[in-house]
């Protein structure tokens, strides 16, 4: 039996229709109430009230925003800024990071600022794009006065940006390919059919 692939759209109506189609394909008469139960379980309860606390000051948040834009800029798809990665990092680290991880992030931000002042006598956000990249590349390579510890700090920050971006809606569904309900596993699938990597479910 071949089932239709279900659309991954987020509106309840098309999901309902898809489920109905699925039930039909299975020769199963789902009653109206069981169908709405199915549909209901797909309309996710979103509880963002948990994310009120913040870790970063306005200035630090601005710096994280700028760094997000450098690490994952807007191209033919939205970048980290449009995906709200800086806000995510701000809340996520306040709630989910250990105090050591929080301190490490704050230290990295301070290190980037101080390096910008030492080298260019100005704030990191006021540098040209080329200067910013020069600084970050040196830091990532642990060169020009940057240590292995600085590299580690930058890697932590990048990991947060990458996590925030590829688990965001634009990152997962526009930059990558996302199928909420794949409709089965196909092992003989060709990359050119989607042309990009799948997003992960988490």
């Amino acid at each position: 039996m071949n089932l239709p692939a279900l659309p991954s759209g987020s509106d309840g109506v098309s999901r309902r229709a898809a489920l109905k189609q699925l039930a039909l394909a299975c020769g199963l008469a789902l009653s109206a109430s069981s169908l709405s139960a199915l549909a209901a379980s797909f309309s996710a309860p979103t509880d963002f009230s948990r994310s009120k606390k913040t870790l970063l000051t306005a200035k630090q948040l601005e710096l994280v925003r700028a760094l997000g834009d450098i690490i994952i800029p807007a191209t033919d798809t939205p970048g980290a800024v449009a995906a709200g990665v800086h806000d995510f990092i701000n809340h996520y680290t306040a709630y989910c990071a250990s105090s050591a991880e929080q301190q490490q992030l704050l230290a990295t931000l301070a290190r980037i600022e101080s390096a910008a002042h030492d080298e260019f006598k100005t704030a990191f956000t006021a540098l040209t794009n080329a200067q910013q990249l020069q600084l970050l590349n040196a830091m990532e390579q642990a060169q020009n006065g940057f240590s292995q510890a600085d590299r580690k700090g930058l890697k932590q920050l990048k990991a947060l940006v990458v996590f925030g971006y590829y688990t965001s809606e634009p990152g997962a569904t526009q930059e990558l390919a996302y199928l909420a309900i794949p409709g089965g596993y196909k092992g003989n699938f060709k990359l050119k059919e989607i042309g990009r990597a799948w997003a992960l479910n988490f």
Binding site: G27, I71, S98, K158, E169, L176, E193
Partner: protein, 577 residues
């Protein structure tokens, strides 16, 4: 689900009481009710109803404030053990036990990670559903090398019961005709991707003793008509099963055994009812019921029945038995042998190797297959063991690197982003599942003073890996790495995670603390899962296991449970119990 099946207080004497509603308890309830017994299912946790209570289902990463992560304060306070389980996240956390409410103790130098699901459905909502038969090689193992006691049963005793439970549950897999891993009653297998097919060809060409096959799993790859009639639909390959599945596409109590039991009108359910102990009548030498503490009010009550099935999970059942003391059984009910609580086993996970596969850039897959591949046991079967007893099988699979790996690379900007947009190189991995020996000193007991918030004595768990276990883990990692090199993989890395952070318990296959055996002097249960000492008391969860084999155990719990239920009903009808 009808509301009136839930009961709290009753004087009714049931035909049967089943304690625990997980994988084993669900089967006991189904089989006993279908055979006409008025049955009470007693569960310490809250009700969880199919579809309605899968609150995490369908949640996408960006619909959760922390993208699946759980707040640190909450984890530190309530989930400090459960967080170690790979399936624990923001959308599944409500199906895991709360570590603060369910305390236990261990010696400082012997950590044990006890992963639990305490609700209607138990861990059947959380398991990963790998389902393998055990073979005669497994049932013979203790007799072969003298570790532990001999099993009182052999493969032929359980074969028809495997057939029965597999047909109902729905197990997908490929027919292979292997003596070491007997075939199940299969639904069609999940597909392998091209790299997996290539790895299979290369390995099987080099070693006639090593096969690489698709895993066997309790998912409806293609539902049969009786599955559709149960309201279960085809698996969509989301691999988000631990959130709950409204398709009913994987086997759980809620999707499969409970609907059948309910359909008989013989089932009653008492949730929020913590079984404190089994009530024993020395005059008749029978168990007459269970004492229960109400999880919410702490009130106590009793339930009565003619036959009792303990299915509260290996350690849950053992805790109840140890706590059921009487003049006849001062160290726990049915413990005249003294074996109760001893011979705790788990599987040896946390060792393996992986490597990069060159080529196949055009090939990809679609869907999140909920199962990998396996390589059935060869070590002490058709190849020799170097320096340890027993053997292992490998779990395996090939995947392309994703943002999770590529995102750790160097670089910035459009190029960095473009690089992550394309899937990365293919990787193939092998990770072991090894047989842990039954050892007397790996044991659980009741803590002499510590109690939980309901007044139940806490379990004290003392369990550690032996020299034999460590040698096997070394061999798992070495053999995997050698095999990957020999078939041409690059950057082969081996790893024994167990040296750092994998403790007994974390493979979540704890078993063996009320073992079966032929001799009442050395075992708790006979070949029918019936207590040697108390004929109407049955234990059919993992506590009954005499050795651990290397396969995932739950399918065997299902088969043993169905078999024991059939026997118990016969004995009841004959007036023997």
């Amino acid at each position: 689900m009808e509301k009136n099946i839930y009961i709290i207080k009753t004087q009714e004497v049931f035909d049967a009481i089943v304690v625990g509603s997980g994988i084993a308890g669900g089967w006991a309830a189904k089989e006993l009710t279908e055979k006409g017994l008025k049955t009470l299912l007693v569960e310490r946790g809250r009700p969880v109803e199919h579809r309605k209570d899968y609150i995490g289902e369908g949640l996408k990463a960006w619909q959760m404030p922390f993208r699946g992560s759980v707040e640190k304060a909450l984890v530190d306070e309530q989930h400090y053990v459960q967080k170690k389980c790979y399936a624990f996240n923001d959308a599944t956390k409500h199906f895991f036990g709360n570590d603060k409410d369910f305390p236990y103790s261990t010696p400082k130098d012997k950590p044990f990670d006890w992963i639990r699901g305490n609700q209607l459905g138990g861990k059947s909502l959380l398991w990963h559903r790998q389902s393998y038969r055990w073979s005669d090689h497994d049932f013979n193992s203790n007799a072969r090398d003298g570790e532990g006691v001999d099993w009182p049963i052999r493969y032929k005793d359980i074969e028809q019961w495997y057939d029965k439970v597999e047909l109902h549950a729905g197990i997908s897999g490929s027919k292979e005709n292997l003596e070491i891993l007997p075939d199940s009653q299969f639904l069609p297998p999940f597909e392998m991707n091209p790299v997996e097919k290539e790895m299979k060809a290369r390995i099987e060409k080099k070693w006639s003793t090593r096969k690489l096959i698709i895993g066997r799993t309790a998912h409806l790859s293609v539902p049969a008509s009786h599955h559709l009639a149960q309201g279960r639909l085809q698996c969509q390959a989301r691999n988000e099963c631990q959130k709950g599945c409204s398709f009913g596409a994987y086997f759980s109590t809620q999707s499969s055994t409970l609907p059948s039991a309910l359909a008989t009108n013989n089932l009653s359910i008492a949730t929020n009812s913590i079984v404190h102990s089994v009530i024993y009548d020395p005059k008749t030498n029978r168990a007459t019921g269970v004492r229960v503490i109400d999880a919410e009010t702490l009130e106590t009550r009793e339930y009565f029945a003619k036959v009792i099935f303990l299915c509260a999970s290996t350690l849950g059942t053992t805790q109840i038995m140890l706590n059921s003391v009487s003049e006849s059984f001062p160290t726990g009910i049915a413990n005249s042998s003294g074996a109760l609580g001893h011979y705790l086993m788990d599987h040896l996970y946390g060792a393996g190797a992986m490597g990069r596969v060159e080529g196949f850039e055009e090939d990809y897959y679609s869907g999140r297959r909920p199962i990998g591949l396996i390589m059935p046991r060869f070590r002490d079967y058709n190849e020799k063991n170097p320096n340890f007893k027993r053997g292992y099988f490998y779990m395996a699979g090939a995947q392309r690197a994703s943002w999770e790996q590529l995102g750790t690379g160097d670089g910035f900007g459009a190029e960095f982003k473009a690089n992550i947009r394309q899937p990365g190189p293919w990787y193939f991995n092998l990770s072991g599942s090894g047989e842990m020996l039954p050892r007397y000193e790996n044991q659980v007991s009741l803590h002499p003073t510590l109690k939980d918030k309901w007044g139940m004595p806490q379990l004290h768990i003392e369990c550690s890996f032996s020299d034999n276990d460590w040698k096997m883990m070394e061999d798992i990692a070495d053999t995997a790495a050698n095999m990957l090199e020999a078939i041409g993989l690059k950057d082969v890395k081996k790893d024994i995670r167990a040296k750092r952070d994998w403790h007994p318990g974390l493979s979540i296959h704890e078993m063996g603390t009320a073992r079966m055996g032929k001799d009442p002097k050395t075992s708790v249960l006979n070949g029918w899962n019936q207590a040697h000492d108390v004929p109407n008391l049955f234990v059919t969860d993992g506590a009954c296991m005499t050795s651990s084999a290397s396969q995932n155990p739950s399918l065997t719990y299902m088969a043993l449970t169905a078999r024991a239920a059939d026997y118990a009903v016969q004995q009841l009808k004959l007036g023997k119990i």
